[in-house]
Amino acid sequence: MNITSAQYKTRDTYDDEGNVISTENCAVIAVINGETFGVPLDPANRHYAEIMRQVEAGELTIADAE
């Protein structure tokens, strides 16, 4: 699995007035074998498992969300 980039995606949550009350990482946007995918933060997901394996091996860094 050739993963060339990975970046966290955040999701805001809002109160009833539309004010942001929290912002959390919700997924990783990764380029895998040349295609862009949205990968959930689920260890049972094969792409996320491989991303984390490569991160732990020092082969990949997940960039912060923009």
Binding site: M1, R11, D12, I29, F37, P40, P43, N45
Partner: protein, 369 residues
């Protein structure tokens, strides 16, 4: 009064009772992603027959895998791999992963571990010795973490001829820590892998020990026919059946609808086309939507989704478009709705009802093992 005696002995050996085959899509009936000449060289790809992966290492050899309509009597389809660029040091294997939930009754790792029999049809352009391997995994697809492997050899006697093979194995009665589902019952329990090409220089994944459960991540022996060294060589399999016991009843044909539903636990897709499909959504802030995608069956795990162009509509009509990749937001193992979030919009209203969907792309929902 007529007396009818029901013979109880030997039923397992003589009657195909149905629901015996542990392999999903063994007759290659389902191919949701289907496409000819979609060459893949990555380590773990699903791109022809559903539930069939290809794994490569070394990757100097290119190959194409397709669902093919050349099959032995009794079948319509086979899974075919064709070498398109040769090299003698590339590992290539095709196979399928079985979810631990579906094999826990085999009792691998316990004193009452079951005997299982695999049967399949194979056709290869090069006759000779080929290898098949079972592998258990501690963690999902972390190469090197496989704990236990079983490698066996079989012979393709004649080139370009369909041949029927069976392999009977008793599962190991030790190393239960790798087989107890502690990583979650929805992860890989047993991987079945047919090798087509070996790494003749580096000898990766090779063992000299056959027909025995051994520690490590092994797929083949040095006797494996090296199809990767021959451009244009082909390898086809179909009629994959794995069942408890040491007999080989006829293949259990299931309806295409049943097989599709079983496959969709691992992969689903929504084919777009001029805003043909939209689902209920709401504005999440002004730049993203939260949407609920109806699933045909609950997914195995939270899925990976591909990048698409999408649009959102309210009761006033078109609101905004986005080219941002959607992501799964909430997953439940028994839920037939998948919550997703898609950003990249402008001008939405928080909590306003929207209808959201792909413009013309196919949205893929991938929860494969």
């Amino acid at each position: 009064m007529a007396l009818i005696k029901v013979k109880t002995g030997g039923v397992d050996n003589s009657v195909n009772l149905g629901r015996r085959n542990l392999i999903i899509n063994g007759a290659m009936q389902v191919s949701q992603r289907y496409g000819y000449n979609s060459a893949q060289t990555d380590w773990n790809s699903y791109d022809a027959s559903d539930r069939m992966f290809k794994r490569t290492a070394g990757a100097s050899t290119s190959s194409v895998q397709t669902r093919n309509d050349d099959a032995p009597s009794g079948f319509i389809y086979s899974d075919k791999l064709t070498i398109t660029s040769q090299d003698s040091d590339t590992y290539i294997g095709r196979g399928t992963c079985l979810e631990w939930n579906d094999i826990s009754h085999l009792r691998a790792g316990y004193s009452d571990a079951k005997t299982i029999t695999l049967s399949f049809w194979v056709k290869a352009s090069i006759s000779g010795t080929y290898c098949f391997a079972y592998t258990s995994y501690v963690s999902v697809h972390s190469d090197g973490n496989a704990a236990t492997s079983y490698v066996t050899e079989y012979t393709v006697n004649s080139a370009n001829t369909w041949e029927y093979k069976t392999i009977t194995v008793t599962l190991p009665t030790s190393t239960p820590s790798n087989w107890d589902g502690s990583n979650g019952g929805n992860t890989t329990g047993l991987r079945l892998q047919w090798t087509q090409s070996r790494r003749a220089t580096t000898n990766s994944y090779e063992t000299a020990t056959t027909d025995s459960w051994i520690s490590g991540n092994y797929f083949c022996t040095s006797s494996q026919t090296n199809m990767g060294a021959t451009n244009g060589s082909t390898f086809q399999i179909t009629g994959l059946q794995l069942e408890v016991g040491n007999t080989t009843p006829p293949f259990e044909h299931r309806s295409v609808g049943e097989e599709l539903a079983l496959c969709q636990r691992y992969f689903q897709k929504i084919s777009g086309g001029s805003d043909a499909f939209v689902v209920a959504a709401k504005g999440q802030g002004t730049a993203s939507v939260d949407a609920s995608i109806p699933l045909t069956v609950p997914l195995r795990a939270s899925p990976t989704m591909n990048s698409i162009n999408s649009r959102s509509f309210s009761d006033g009509g078109f609101v905004a478009s986005s080219s941002t990749t959607p992501t799964a937001l909430q997953y439940s193992d028994n839920n037939t709705l998948l919550a997703v979030n898609c950003g990249g919009f402008t001008g939405l209203t928080n909590n306003e009802v929207q209808n959201w969907g792909p413009v013309s792309n196919t949205l893929t929902i991938d929860a494969e093992l």
